[in-house]
Structure formats: structure tokens, C-alpha cells
């Protein structure tokens, strides 16, 4: 995939800002519009943008598909583990065991912040892994 130098440079410069926006959406999911899924998709599109502009081989050197697959499973396992923690702390499954804090603060959602982070990791890794698979196995089957 040979993109022009302009596209490659712009994509490279945009990449950190898109990532930052993704992290913002994930971490503020319980306070403002956004959340784990939306932020995760934004993170995933950042990787897809790199893959489109720089070619899949270049991108795979940094974001290895093995690691992405591993992260995806890790995300869901974290989610289930957090659910179990609710049982261990004496509440029910998925019960909130963290302090609630003052409304409006970043720590005010209790368990929602770790949930959103786990979901965000899973979705980001999942979206980019799906994109890798679509590119790599194009034309097969």
C-alpha cells in the first residue's frame, strides 16, 4: 500500500491525538457521552488509520497481532474477574465495592471506571484484530 507522503505524515501526526481522544472517552465514560465501547473503537480506528497509510506490515511491527489477540482475551477476563471481586467483597456478582466519591469526579463511578477500561482494551484490540484479519485473509475461502 503506497500512500503519498502527505497522507503518511498527517496520519502519523494525528495518531497520538486520536489515541488521546480514545482514552478520554474511556476514562470519562461514566460522566459524559462515551464509554468503553466508543473509546475502544476510537483507539482501534487509530491503529486502522496507521495500517491504511503506512501499510499493514509496518503497522504490524509495532502493534503485533499476537499481542492484540492476547489483549482482547485479557480484557474480557479482567471484566469477569472484576465481577467476581464483587462476590469476594461480600456483595453480589458485578456489585460495586469501590468508594463512590463525589459526583462529577473521575473516581465517582465506583466500578464503572475499571469496567470501561477493560471494555476499552477489549474493543480496541478486537477492532484492530478484525481489521488485520480482513486484510490478511482477503480472497481466501
Amino acid at each position: 500500500m503506497g500512500s503519498s507522503k502527505i497522507i503518511r505524515t498527517i496520519a502519523q501526526k494525528l495518531f497520538p491525538f486520536i489515541m488521546l481522544f480514545g482514552f478520554y472517552l474511556i476514562s470519562n465514560g461514566h460522566l459524559s457521552p462515551g464509554g468503553g465501547f466508543q473509546g475502544g473503537v476510537v483507539l482501534g480506528t487509530a491503529i486502522i488509520l496507521l495500517a491504511l497509510s503506512h501499510g499493514i506490515e509496518q503497522t504490524e511491527k509495532i502493534f503485533k497481532s499476537r499481542w492484540l489477540n492476547m489483549l482482547e482475551k485479557l480484557g474480557i477476563l479482567t471484566l469477569i474477574f472484576l465481577g467476581f471481586l464483587g462476590i469476594f467483597f461480600g456483595y453480589s456478582f458485578l456489585g460495586n465495592f469501590l468508594p463512590l466519591g463525589r459526583p462529577g469526579q473521575i473516581t465517582s463511578g465506583g466500578l464503572m471506571l475499571p469496567f470501561n477500561i477493560a471494555i476499552g482494551i477489549k474493543v480496541a484490540a478486537g477492532v484492530s484484530a478484525i481489521f488485520y484479519a480482513l486484510i490478511k485473509y482477503r480472497g481466501e475461502i
Binding site: K73, G86, I87, S92, F93, I141
Partner: protein, 493 residues
């Protein structure tokens, strides 16, 4: 810890599913252990459930109507036991096949855990989500061999199933618009008031949900996906599909029709007549289509449509005996049909062909498997010492008592037709093989040693179950009893 059992039954297979993806060696152990643990957990609840107790668990500590809660009652217990038991046998049956990688076990565990989720949840939207998860896993399981026919079968099921679940979701949306809650038990409380003000909306939501579930159960005009999907899937998956997955559709129908649309509404909108008519049509259609099939697994798939018609007739009659018969037939059909599909898997492996004609001589090579096949097919027809007879007998009795004598005639005619197609297979099994050396080629391209214990053990267990439930039907009926009394308590307030 004991109060957390309902969620543990669902979450352990799900946790194991994702752990299976991380390991290569222990995938089977992990899958089997998680399912066995779930079965043990379910059985610990049996004494409370069988004494008509209701176990409720609030997820995250949020009570209904706001939160999602899990409810285990007689009906849920009955269906979850079928799902988990057959799921374990399917996993055991899959062990010798080396081609099944960890993805296969992952999908199997996800589908099993979401089945239990559908059964236990009391939140109707959550039911939709779990059902969609179950369907996604099943689409992938059907397409697992990645050949052209399986992909096509899976894709047509994907389209049909997607449409069906969209109908279900739309019906749920109507219910939510009318009652303002998604909890089934709260919907049941608020729906009579909604029925008085806007009757059309209630009928509309019932029609949408019944149509959506009708696609999943494959009643006659909506059955298009079933013969392909059930016959092209790998044999253990076929057993799971025919034995359990369609039963989940029946469970949803029962749960929504009897619990949410309670009591008078069930008879006001004549939904019992609708179920009965659909049952009769798919009974006759399934039987006559199975008669025309040359492919063994396709024949079994059409036979599923036939037997589900019997279940729908029992549900439509709606008396105590009819419901007992219908639920007992659900259990019986799950056992018999998975026996048949397991046997069919071995037959196709050994003879190298899917055609009924090609099975000649198999009965002499492997008498034990053939015996199990004959036992299960006698049950399908409804011949006394086997379990299928008991449930069909109950449904016929209920039909006579309720004054629908014509239904008995129809069920008997369909049984005669199914006798015709099953006896044709049995006759071929014992005929002399033609003199030629055909190379055994497996349906997935691999020959499995015929004495493999893991292959035959599930078949023996299930065939023994057929005979046991046929000789002592009280066992199965006592299991279905709490469910029936629960359903009747909704009908007669």
C-alpha cells in the same frame, strides 16, 4: 457462597471459554470441568426448586424493575438441566476428533453459557442479548468445517435468525413502551392494565415475539434454515442444535407467553389455537418431508420439525396433562435426537457416505451402535417401551380430554409416517452390503477408530436414558411437574 450459585452456573462456562483460548493442552479438561461444575451447582438447587421454591438473584445488588435479576424456578431448572447435560455429552463426543481446535470448544462453551443465561434471566431484554450471543456462537459452530455447504447453511441461518431475533426485539420494545419495565414478572403485573387501554399493541407484541421465536423453533412456514443447518453441521453440533438449541426457542415462547402474557390474555387472543395450528402443520410437513429424504442427517433434521410440532400441540392444548406431555416430550426429544445424531456421526464416519442407501451392512459391523439407533428411532415413532411413547401418549390423552379428538388422529398419522422413514433406515442397516470396496472417508476427512470409548459412551448413556425414561416415565414427569404447576399457576390466578 451458596446465594451466588445462579450466576456461577452461567459465568463458569463463560470464564472457561476465554481460558480455553489461552491454553492448547488443557482445552478439553477445562471445558468438561466447567460444565460438570455447573451441573453440580444446578443439582444442589434441585431440592429447593422441586419443592416449588423460586430462587432469585439480583445482579449487582440492583432489584427489579430497575436491575437485572436471575430467577430459577421449575421451568428454568428443567430446561437448564437438559442443556447442561447434553452439553457435557457433546463435549465428550467431540474429544476424539483432533480437528476441533480450541476455537471449537470456545464456541461450544459460549453457546452453553448463553443458553443458561437465556433460561435463567428474568429480564426480557437480557434474554434477547443472551439469545443473540447463543445464535452467533451457533452460526460459527455450523460453519466450523469451513466447506462451501456449511458456509451456505450457516449464512442462511444467520439471515433467518437475525430477522427472527429482530422481530423478538421489536416485540420487546412494544412491551417496554406499554409497561415501562423489562422485568418479565413486572410486565406480567402491569400488562392487564395496558391490555384494557391498548389491545392492539399487546396483540402486536405477541405476534412479533411469536413470529421471532417461530423462526428459531422452525415451525412450518419459517423452517427454511433448519434442514440445511442441522444436517450440514458437524455431528456433535447437530446433536446440540437439534437437542438443545431449538428447545431454547420453545423455552422463550413458554416463558413469554405464559409469564408475561399471563392468564386471561392467553385465551383472549386465542394464542393457544395459533400454537395448535402451527404444531399440526409443522408436524405433518416435517413427517412428509422426512419421508422424501435420501440424506441421513437431513432426514433427522426434518424429523426435528415433526417432533417440535408434537410439542407445540401439547403446549397449545394447555391443560395440565398437555403441558406435562409437552415438557416431557421436550426432554425425550432432546435425548432421542442427540442419540440419533451421535449414531449418524459414527455411521457417516465408518461408511463414508451420508446417503441412507450407503449404510447397508453397518448393522452387522457395529451391533451396539445400531441397537442404540433403533432404540432412539422407536422412541421417535412412539413405540411403547421407549420414552417417546410416554410423552406422545400424554399429549394424545390431553387432546381427547380437551375435546380435540382430531389432533390424536393427526399425531397417529404422523407417527405412522415417521415409522415409515425410520424403518426404511433400519432395514438398510441390516441389508447386505453391495460387493465393492469403498474407501471410508470421513465427513470432515478423517477416519476415527471405531472402538473409541469417548465416541460410544455418550451414545450408550443416552440410549440407556431412552429406555429408562420409557420404562419409568414417572422420573421425567416428576422433573417436569414443578414447571407445569408453575405454568398453571399463571393461567389460573
Amino acid at each position: 457462597m451458596s446465594i451466588h450459585i445462579p450466576i456461577l452456573i452461567i459465568i463458569l462456562p463463560l470464564l472457561a471459554a476465554f481460558l480455553v483460548l489461552l491454553t492448547r493442552k488443557y482445552k478439553i479438561v477445562l471445558a468438561a470441568v466447567s460444565i460438570i461444575t455447573s451441573i453440580v451447582f444446578t443439582l444442589t438447587l434441585s431440592s429447593r426448586v422441586l419443592s416449588n421454591d423460586k430462587i432469585t438473584y439480583h445482579l449487582g445488588g440492583w432489584r427489579g424493575p430497575l436491575g437485572v435479576s436471575l430467577v430459577i424456578d421449575g421451568l428454568g431448572f428443567f430446561f437448564s438441566l437438559i442443556a447442561l447435560g447434553l452439553g457435557l455429552l457433546v463435549i465428550i463426543y467431540s474429544i476424539p476428533e483432533k480437528r476441533y481446535s480450541r476455537t471449537y470448544y470456545f464456541l461450544l462453551l459460549v453457546s452453553l453459557s448463553s443458553m443458561i443465561g437465556v433460561i435463567y434471566t428474568a429480564d426480557i431484554f437480557n434474554m434477547y442479548v443472551f439469545y443473540e450471543l447463543l445464535s452467533l456462537a451457533v452460526y460459527l459452530l455450523i460453519a466450523y468445517p469451513k466447506t462451501g455447504v456449511t458456509l451456505r447453511a450457516s449464512f442462511s441461518y444467520l439471515i433467518m435468525g437475525g430477522v427472527g431475533l429482530s422481530f423478538f426485539l421489536l416485540g420487546v420494545g412494544f412491551l417496554y413502551a406499554m409497561t415501562g419495565t423489562l422485568d418479565i414478572f413486572h410486565i406480567a403485573e402491569r400488562l392487564p392494565a395496558a391490555f384494557n387501554s391498548s389491545m392492539q399493541m399487546v396483540i402486536m407484541s405477541f405476534v412479533l415475539i411469536a413470529t421471532g421465536m417461530g423462526i428459531k423453533i422452525a415451525v412450518f412456514p419459517l423452517h427454511g434454515w433448519l434442514p440445511d443447518a442441522h444436517s450440514m453441521a458437524p455431528s456433535p453440533v447437530s446433536a446440540l442444535l437439534s437437542g438443545v438449541t431449538v428447545k431454547i426457542g420453545i423455552y422463550c415462547l413458554i416463558r413469554v407467553v405464559y409469564t408475561a402474557f399471563s392468564a386471561e390474555m392467553f385465551f383472549l387472543i386465542n394464542s393457544h389455537n395459533i400454537l395448535m395450528v402451527l404444531g399440526v402443520v409443522s408436524l405433518l410437513f416435517g413427517a412428509s418431508m422426512a419421508l422424501a429424504q435420501k440424506d441421513l442427517k437431513r432426514l433427522l433434521a426434518y424429523s426435528t420439525i415433526n417432533q417440535l410440532g408434537v410439542v407445540l400441540i401439547g403446549l397449545g392444548i394447555g391443560t395440565e396433562m398437555g403441558l406435562t406431555g409437552a415438557l416431557f416430550h421436550v426432554l425425550n426429544h432432546a435425548i432421542m435426537k442427540s442419540t440419533l445424531f451421535f449414531c449418524a456421526g459414527i455411521m457417516i464416519t465408518e461408511t463414508g457416505t451420508r446417503e441412507v442407501k450407503g449404510l447397508s451392512g453397518f448393522g452387522r459391523q457395529q451391533p451396539a451402535i445400531t441397537f442404540a439407533f433403533i432404540v432412539a428411532s422407536l422412541g421417535m415413532i412412539g413405540i411403547p417401551p421407549v420414552n417417546g411413547f410416554a410423552s406422545k401418549w400424554l399429549i394424545c390423552l390431553a387432546a381427547v380430554e380437551a375435546g380435540y379428538t382430531i389432533l390424536v388422529v393427526i399425531i397417529l398419522v404422523a407417527s405412522a409416517i415417521s415409522a415409515a422413514y425410520y424403518f426404511r433406515v433400519i432395514q438398510v442397516l441390516f441389508s447386505n452390503p453391495p460387493e465393492q470396496n469403498h474407501i471410508p472417508a470421513h465427513e470432515e476427512g478423517q477416519v476415527i477408530h471405531k472402538g473409541n470409548l469417548f465416541r460410544v459412551l455418550p451414545i450408550y448413556i443416552l440410549a440407556a436414558g431412552c429406555l429408562l425414561l420409557g420404562i419409568v416415565p414417572a422420573l421425567g414427569i416428576s422433573l417436569a411437574k414443578p414447571a407445569v404447576s408453575l405454568l398453571l399457576s399463571y393461567v389460573v390466578p
